[in-house]
């Protein structure tokens, strides 16, 4: 007869950044009988998952499951909404394109867009048509989060949240305290191995040893626990991902916008995230830049720079330690992929949460899927550096995994082959490839002369776009109303 496994009794999460705290909350909620503690300090600026002011739409679902309210983030942590990311310059000077979330488009409409996007445009004819409702709304500056459970013209529009990382971390800490999660700041100075390849305890400087039966490493790129494990191995991505230096801007004047930007410039890429209390910017380059030049490109004074050696843990779960976030994978912060990856890996860990006895095959299954997730990010990033104009800045790189096949299928057929555990849905990847400057081919069925289905789909989309624009208020108006309401002292 099957018996329940003996549950974990104590879990230590190493790393007190926003990722470590959310991880502790998720584990504590999953195992209320288990003691969960966060140890170690807040990871430094090179821990991009911890310093990220935003994630992708998966995080909304995770927040929901963990009882982290979207309204709380908006009102107490400088939260704001991103509907789209605009990519500029990747296909050459003046080229830009927009990526939204979700997979709501009619396939016939996608083909219609592919036809429009593939057309040679006469000068002055304007850009190609919007590829999603989110883009229509973002360009018109209209949006308010749709009321849940009620069909509206914008209910199909998916979005991502941004926030102030420090305020968001405070919000999570308050939640963690309410859940009786302990916090022991300090420097991890010792790792005691136990039986087999497990860690028995870790030491905090001046505080002695803390034992646990499971460890989660959220300590950032140095991977304080995982990298100290005798069986740790690193899979290097530097052959295919050329960014070596990341310059971090000081938070600057707020920007209210429904879109963020990832721009290719003469020296590298620039990622800009808007926010209601600050603008965040990162610059990635293959070669070091003089400070003044980096600041000119960042559009703000630099807070610092970090060197990047991209790659991932060969096995993110060894023995009884699992690494999440930058401790598992290090790569270009040119979009919100860090926190998205970390959160998807966290959800996988919660799904596959072991008992005190860890079965080698469940570790293998976790590692299989976790590695698929990381390699998915690797491939999505590699698409950026394969983009026509990126090669001029970064040089030509070998394409990892199935990237070459994806580009080929897209260019000749407008087809996105399915891949397990990719950070982007098929339509998101389609839009990304267009935004990066590739022209989609047409699927065989679309080559026939009859475009009636596409015309129908296009007309339906235009009607939906009109309805969405009529329904959604100007975003700034909504934001002002919401924030001023939140300032009314609670009775």
């Amino acid at each position: 007869m099957s018996t329940p496994r003996e549950p974990l009794r104590r879990i230590l999460v190493a790393g007190g950044g926003q990722l470590g705290v959310l991880t502790a909350i998720a584990l504590r909620r999953a195992l209320p009988s288990c003691e969960v503690a966060v140890v170690g300090g807040e990871p430094g600026p090179a821990a991009f998952a911890d310093s990220s002011p935003t994630a992708m739409s998966f995080t909304n679902k995770l927040h929901d499951r963990l009882g982290i309210g979207e309204a709380d983030i908006v009102m107490r942590a400088g939260g704001s909404y991103r509907l789209v990311t605009r990519y500029a310059g990747w296909g050459g000077e003046g080229q830009s394109g927009v990526v939204a979330y979700g997979e709501a488009l009619d396939p016939a409409l996608k083909t219609a867009f592919a036809r429009d996007w593939g057309q040679v445009r006469l000068p002055g004819a304007g850009g190609p048509p919007a590829g999603s409702l989110a883009q229509v709304l973002a360009e018109a500056g209209r949006f308010a989060p749709p009321p849940p459970g009620e069909p509206t013209p914008i209910s199909a529009v998916d979005y991502a949240l941004r926030w102030n990382p420090a305020a968001y971390r405070d919000l999570l800490i308050a939640e963690a305290e309410a859940l009786c999660i302990n916090y022991a700041p300090g420097v991890i100075d010792r790792i005691e191995m136990g039986e087999g390849d497990t860690i028995r305890a870790i030491g905090l400087a001046g505080q002695g040893l803390i034992e646990a039966d499971f460890f989660v490493d959220c300590s950032g790129p140095q991977a304080a626990l995982l990298a100290a494990h005798p069986r740790f191995a690193f899979t290097d991505w530097s052959a295919s991902l050329p960014t070596r230096h990341v310059y971090i801007a000081q938070a600057s004047a707020p920007v209210i916008a429904l879109e963020d930007r990832v721009t290719l410039n003469r020296a590298g890429w620039l990622a800009e995230v808007a926010g209601i209390d600050a603008r965040y910017a990162l610059l990635g380059t293959p070669a070091p830049l003089p400070r003044a030049e980096a600041e000119a490109l960042l559009g703000a004074p630099a807070l610092g720079a970090v060197a990047l050696t991209p790659g991932r843990a060969a096995e993110p779960w060894i023995g009884n330690v699992v690494a999440l976030g930058d401790a598992a994978a290090r790569f270009d912060p040119l979009g919100p992929l860090h926190l998205d990856l970390a959160h998807r890996q966290l959800a996988l860990l919660v799904e596959m949460l072991p008992g005190r006895d860890i079965a080698p095959l469940e570790r293998a299954e976790y590692n299989r899927r976790s590695v698929l997730m990381m390699e998915g990010v690797h491939e999505v990033l590699a698409l950026h550096f394969a983009a026509p104009a990126a090669q001029a800045v970064f040089g030509a790189q070998p394409l990892p995994g199935r990237v070459a096949a994806v580009i080929d299928q897209f260019q000749r057929r407008g087809r996105i082959p399915f891949r397990e555990e990719l950070p982007l849905l098929g339509q998101e990847q389609f839009a990304l490839l267009v935004a990066l400057g590739w022209t989609p081919g047409l699927p065989p069925a679309a080559l026939a002369g009859d475009h009636a289905r596409e015309d129908q789909a296009r007309a339906a989309f235009e009607a939906e776009a009109r309805a969405a624009l009529a329904f959604a208020p100007p975003y700034t108006e909504w934001l002002g109303r919401t924030l001023s309401a939140s300032r009314v002292p609670a009775g």
Binding site: L353, G355, E362, Q409, D450
Partner: protein
């Protein structure tokens, strides 16, 4: 307006069985102007008529072709199918239904089966199928199409059970109305290009020469183009799937009930099917010729069939396995010419449909075949075959039967590594290896594991955090909701007749 359509590609389909006419109709309908389709078939050869039972995916195919469900069901004497009832597989006397649907729902990210295992530990679990609407409806011989949305009434899908010898002709009628050109005749020579080795034309017995740019081999196990002509190697899977014959014998219905499911009953050297159609019951014994001979199998199916025989048993011969490439040169194999996995989970028509879908996506519009498309097609097809193979092997391997040579072999055989890992993960922790692109998902694996008595040694600790009484109450509520929903469904036969009447009126 100028059309961007290239010159139509001349597609020649060889073989007029189920796969052949599905391919011809699919291409003609979905690639109008891009392809012209000719089909060569020979009445002297006849067809296997594989697959009387289908999977829910067939509905998408039929719908995409613009075929009306009711017309199609009428022409093929079809019934609805909610799953397969497996009897005597894990152990003689035990049975379970593998539904087109789920069991319960996950709670806080923990799969329902973990809670079920926890209940079982306390002696409070009912049959796992009691928590599945598809299973409960099947057992009650009731049917109604699933509801939209995400309520209980939406937690299942359905497929058809139809007369396979009528499905091919139905697709033929349809194909002919949308422009497929049919040639009656036997192929005597395959002409190939001296340089590329591509097939150029098929020469028929009466001297007609059918030229083409792309050839689809639907010639069944003979695999005239892919196997005989291009000599693409065959990977034999007999070791894991030893059944290589079927003795098929249709019967009358023995009872008034019309089951909305297929029955698969394990036999000493294989298993037998019962597939209820509107007008008769399909029966057959799928067996391993290494373990009993054809006469014994015919005797066994005569003895086992419940209704009056409508014909003598007919022997079908097959080989489980697949070609190492399903697309070689300018020849694409669809159906048995490219591979076969025995009929245990009704995957034959699905596998043909899957190949047709990929062929249409990767179709060489304009006529030039890009080797990258060929490689992509083969990669996708191979992945589907390999995953389905592992799932089928599980049905034989997860058993305690030791009453015959056949069951001793499958119980003790080594299984592919890909399956061994899945089994161990389940045994040790009750977990399923996840994939999102494939045919059988968690619920299917759980149905077979649990149904065949292969329970894990341990389950998720979170399932034990709910007090057993509270868990029992919650699952009891679910079971009662399932029972209530089933009670509101019409009988399967009633539903079919009412639909038929409604459509007759509409017409």
């Amino acid at each position: 307006m100028m059309s961007d359509a290239p010159q139509p590609v001349r597609v020649v389909v060889l073989g007029g069985g189920t796969a052949g006419w599905m391919t011809a109709a699919g291409i003609a309908k979905l690639l109008p102007g891009i392809a012209s389709v000719q089909l060569v078939e020979s009445e002297e050869i006849g067809i296997v008529g594989v697959g009387e039972a289908t999977l829910p995916h067939i509905r998408g195919f039929v719908e995409k072709l613009g075929i009306d469900e009711a017309a199609f069901m009428k022409a093929t004497h079809a019934t609805f199918k909610l799953g397969i009832d497996f009897r005597d597989f894990g152990k003689i006397g035990e049975s379970y239904i593998h539904p087109f649907g789920s069991f319960g729902e996950e709670v806080s990210g923990v799969g329902f089966h973990h809670y079920w295992l926890e209940l079982a530990r306390h002696g409070m679990a009912r049959d796992l199928g009691d928590y599945s609407l598809a299973v409960a409806a099947a057992k009650a011989n009731r049917f109604r199409p699933p509801a939209q949305g995400d309520g209980l009434a939406s937690t299942y899908g359905y497929a058809y059970q139809f007369d396979a010898t009528l499905f091919g002709p139905f697709m033929r009628e349809f194909g002919l109305t949308i422009g497929v050109e049919r040639h009656e005749g036997r192929v005597v020579t395959v002409e190939r290009d001296g340089q590329s080795g591509d097939v150029v034309a098929l020469v028929l017995a009466d001297g007609r020469r059918i030229e083409g740019d792309l050839f689809v081999d639907c010639s069944g196990f003979r695999s005239i183009l892919l196997g005989q002509e291009l000599k693409v190697p065959w990977e034999d899977w007999t070791h894991w799937l030893p059944c290589d014959r079927a003795a098929a014998m249709p019967c009358t219905h023995a009872t008034e009930d019309l089951r909305p499911y297929t029955t698969a009953t394990a036999m000493p050297a294989g298993w037998r099917w019962q597939i209820p159609l509107q007008h008769r019951m399909g029966n057959g014994y799928v067996f391993s010729s290494a373990h009993i001979d054809e006469d014994q199998a015919c005797e066994a199916i005569r003895a086992a069939a419940e209704g009056m025989p409508l014909a003598d048993p007919r022997i079908l011969r097959f080989r489980p396995g697949r070609r190492s490439q399903s697309w070689s040169h300018n020849v694409v194999g669809v159906g048995l010419a490219s591979g076969f996995l025995e009929p245990l989970e009704s995957t034959s028509i699905y596998l043909a449909q899957m190949a047709i879908t990929y062929l249409i996506e990767l179709f060489p519009a304009g006529g030039r075949i890009d080797p990258r498309d060929r490689a992509e097609f083969n990669r996708q097809v191979d992945m589907e075959y390999d995953r389905v193979r592992d799932f089928l092997i599980l049905h034989y391997h997860a058993t305690t039967r030791d009453d015959s040579e056949f069951w001793n072999h499958v119980r003790t055989m080594t299984v592919p590594d890909s399956l061994a890992g899945k089994l161990e993960l389940w045994r040790r922790a009750g977990r399923i290896e996840k994939y999102s692109d494939g045919l059988f998902y968690d619920a299917s694996w759980i149905a077979v594991y649990v149904g065949q008595g292969m329970l894990p040694v341990a389950h998720d600790p979170r399932a034990a955090m709910i007090p057993p009484d509270a868990l029992a109450r919650a699952t009891e509520r679910l079971r009662m909701a399932v029972t209530g929903e089933v009670a509101s469904m019409p009988g399967h036969r009633d539903y079919l007749m009412r639909e038929a009447a409604r459509l007759a009126e509409a017409a």
